[in-house]
Amino acid sequence: MAFVNNLLSKMAISDGHGENSPYFDGWKAYDSDPFHSVENPQGVIQMGLAENQLCFDLIQEWILKNPKASICTSEGVDEFKDTAIFQDYHGLPEFRDAIAKFMAKVRGNTVTFDPDRVVMSGGATGAHETMAFCLADPGDAFLVPTPYYPGFDRDLRWRTGVKLLPVVCESCNDFKITREALEEAYQKAVESNINVKGLLITNPSNPLGTILDRDTLQSLVDFINEKNIHLICDEIYAATVFTKPMYVSIAEILEEDKKCNRDLIHLVYSLSKDMGFPGFRIGIIYSYNDSVVNTARKMSSFGLVSTQTQRLIANMLSDDTFIDQYVSESRKRLAARHGVFTRGLMQVRVGNLQGNAGLFFWMDLRRLLKDSTVEAEMELWRVIINEVKLNVSPGSSFHCSEPGWFRVCYANMDNETMRIALRRIKKFVLQADERQVTAKKQTWHKDLKLSLSFRRCDDTILMTPRMVTPHMMSPHVVVSPHSPLASPLVRARN
């Protein structure tokens, strides 16, 4: 209704909320036909949602054993009034202490965190928006390495008016963030008269499922210091690092690099992924810049954590024995899941970027694309959703520069669903391969007929695909036709 629309702000009627991205289309497909092992076994399996559902049994057990942590139990109800009244935006002191301790623990206690720098926010979503409001004016920009989490387009830009400029990372070097790519992005901004205020990284990476090595982290720190811009590090997946190499947080780099301007370094954290509590809205900003801490704290009024939740979390995270057990068990289960999927996919020659963190892996389906275009990727994706009935997220929704990559989440389902999902993928890939082979055979046949028509030969020669398709390799080698054999991509074991 045009008249009604005139009544609203541009912000309200724009697409800035980002929900028209294909990232969310898949969710909509899932919502309209959700898989259920009993009630809807043919439904769409949700593999587009990065949730950690693997360790609820441990949490539940703790809840039952610790009634005092809840203000609704007879053991805890004495605290109800004080908890319900408390609206100080500093947060409950025990909450901040517990968060600081937990953050250190997850980083192997190589660094400590100051509870006075812990600032609450409405999830990491609120944290990112607040950081943008604190560090940048409308029209300013942050650099973000691609591929990146689609939610950033909304969180950093929508209500703030801030821009996001991609730092293009490529598969040929495992999507590492190179100095060249950073400089290129920065120069492009300068040439367009855009004021770059900072660099936003996610480490461990979403969607890649990898961690940044020490050298890369140091080079990023060098870069931002040279350009005098901020570094926002989203470490939301810090506790999901399930195998070597060891995780290095920006906090560690800061401890070692005394030349770094600490006022430029800011962390965003949350318990939505590490603990699996997205519903509780526990977002954290941790800044080494006093002014940012002060301002972000004032802005936290727009998204404080419910004190009921602060109290529960403070109790839970302070239980050292439990938390040690939880983090260790969570890592084991994530590793196991990751292993089952990646090995299963290797059996059908589908590779993925070798990763050791996150709740997903970055799957390589480039060889199934008709051609190396976003349209082909979208076409493949629609087939995966509508026919294979899996909601995976297409790389283009993460602003990946190369078509054919998909993020596949695996920690948000039970074992049985996981097995079904794997079966579906494998079946689909095998069929797709057969179709490709048939198509190639037909093309070859057509070419052969044409060439044979010029010869007087016996045209009953039997040709099998194995003999003629130059790109067909042994079924045990995971290599896609678009990547060089030397690619460090995961290979199948023979």
């Binding site: 209704m1 009604v4 009544l7 609203l8 541009k10 912000m11 309200a12 009627i13 909320h17 929900e19 949730e51 559902q53 609820f56 809840i63 039952l64 009634p67 609704c72 139990t73 007879s74 805890g76 109800f80 009034k81 908890t83 319900a84 009244i85 408390f86 609206q87 409405g122 999830g123 979503t125 609120g126 928006e129 409001f133 604190c134 560090l135 004016d137 409308p138 300013d140 909304r154 969180d155 209500r159 901020h230 006022d263 430029l264 939505s272 519903g279 509780f280 809205r281 810049n289 002014s291 301002t295 004032k298 802005m299 009024s301 727009f302 404080l304 954590v305 419910s306 009921q308 939740t309």
Partner: protein, 465 residues
């Protein structure tokens, strides 16, 4: 470093340098405690409702199934409770828990005597009314545009409505000469003033029942406002956060009801698309720590945009679940609201009579958690400087934190907002004694200085003579 941060971070538009918040800081340095610090500062600047926790606590004691996230589904409790915990922990749907919204809509209807029915699907949950007001501004106005707002008003609006949105607030001056009622004249004058400043007015923001006045808006005021909004084709945001605290007649008429009863407005008039209500459980139920706010609007586009924006401040699912259970019992809900209002009236009456015995009067009020107190006679001059002096004296000598009218943008010096629902009766009694002692001392001192002034002027005239 200042230029390394945004403009929003560098200036004072967060509003925390207001005396409203400075008084809180003074209190925090020396907080009153009946036993541990009986000469500390009594906090009367915080509009909290602490009167009815016992009712909530006894409900919780009787309903232990809410503990451990159990739901009354029957069957083995531990396996059910585990799946419920998991569902809640994962529930981040910005449309909110349907059961919770259903109870909230019902509560809102009951507060209005069921003369209005609210649709849960038109409710958007937000992290407190703070987030609700900001979100509405983001949806209704461009940076630099303006909302009119009757004075005096809640100091927090300067932050919530203006800070990150860059929306302007243009005061609509209300005066004590007509009990600070909102008039058409005042609205028109403010609108003209905005135009002169080249500000585009997108709407009017009212709080009803009003903060800091503690009054409910009358039918006439609401009709004037509606006529104004209709003729100017602008929005009305009605913050009805205190709607459940109306403890005396006249009863509460919310904006929805006013519109339904408006003689000239037919159903389907476009004004329905421009009315938006803000509500919260922070005042009526006294649960500010739980951060439960909401927006209600008939405008689908607003609901859609605001829902998406609520991602920046959703209500914890754990809290949604707890409250949907507490509010889910209709009888308890009604009992709570009735008892709460009774206790508020008692407190209000206690404060009014305590002030009266100190020779201090208040604006006649029937709602809210505070009184709007007239201390103009204690000012040494009719200026805001004198009001500030008086306020500082009240903090340092009477050891009371009250909110000076200037922090609420009142156009007349000498008025103070004094809260009565955030302390025990004993503490309120101590506060009243202190006010009386202070007022008596001030009057005596005034008398003395008046006498001295008289004496010295007599002396000087004698000398001349």
């Amino acid at each position: 470093m200042q230029q390394m941060l945004s403009r929003k971070a560098s200036f004072n538009s967060h509003g925390e340098d207001s005396s409203y918040f400075l008084g809180w800081k003074e209190y925090e340095k020396n907080p009153y405690h009946e036993h541990h610090n009986p000469s500390g500062i009594i906090q009367m600047g915080l509009a909290e409702n602490q009167l009815s926790f016992d009712l909530l606590e006894s409900w919780l004691a009787k309903n232990a199934n809410v503990a451990h996230f159990k739901e009354d589904r029957g069957g083995s409790s531990s396996s059910l409770s585990s799946s419920l915990f998991r569902e809640l922990a994962l529930f981040q749907d910005y449309r909110g828990l349907p059961a919770f919204k259903k109870e909230l809509a019902a509560l809102m209807g009951e507060i209005r005597g069921n003369k209005v029915r609210y649709d849960p699907n038109k409710l958007v949950l937000t992290a407190g009314a703070t987030a609700a007001n900001e979100t509405l501004m983001f949806c209704l106005a461009e940076p630099g545009e303006a909302f009119l707002i009757p004075t005096p008003y809640y100091p927090g609006f300067d932050r919530d409505v203006k800070w990150r949105t860059e929306v302007q607030l243009v005061p609509v001056h209300c005066s004590s000469s007509n009990q600070f009622r909102l008039t058409s004249l005042a609205l028109e004058e403010a609108h003209k003033r905005a135009l002169k400043q080249k500000l585009k007015v997108k709407g009017v923001l009212i709080t009803n029942p009003t903060n800091p006045l503690g009054t409910t808006m009358s039918k006439d005021e609401l009709n004037h406002l509606l006529d104004f909004a209709i003729s100017k084709k602008i929005h009305i945001v009605s913050d009805e956060i205190y709607s459940g605290t109306v403890f005396d007649s006249p009863g509460f008429i919310g904006i929805t009801q006013a519109l339904l009863n408006h003689k000239k407005v037919r159903v389907g008039n476009d004004i329905w698309n421009r009315i938006h209500i803000v509500y919260s459980l922070s005042k009526d139920l006294g649960l500010p720590g739980f951060r439960v706010g909401m927006i209600y609007s008939e405008n689908e586009a607003i609901i859609s945009a605001a829902t998406k924006m609520s991602s920046f401040g959703l209500v914890s699912s754990q809290t949604q679940f707890l409250l949907s259970n507490i509010l889910g019992e209709k009888n308890f809900r009604k009992l709570y609201m009735k008892e709460n209002q009774k206790r508020l009236k008692e407190r209000h009456d206690m404060m009014v009579s305590g002030l009266k015995s100190a020779g201090i009067s208040c604006l006649k009020s029937n709602a809210g958690l505070f009184c709007w107190v007239d201390m103009r006679h204690l000012l040494c001059s009719n200026t805001f400087e004198a009001e500030k002096e008086l306020w500082e004296k009240i903090i340092s000598e009477a050891k009371l934190n009250l909110s000076p009218g200037s922090s609420c943008h009142c156009s007349e010096p000498g008025w103070f907002r004094v809260c009565f629902a955030n302390m025990s009766t004993e503490t309120l009694s101590v506060a009243m004694q202190r006010i009386k002692a202070f007022a008596d001392a001030t009057c005596k001192a005034d008398q003395i200085s008046y006498q001295q002034a008289l004496y010295s002027s007599q002396k000087s005239s004698l000398n001349k003579w």
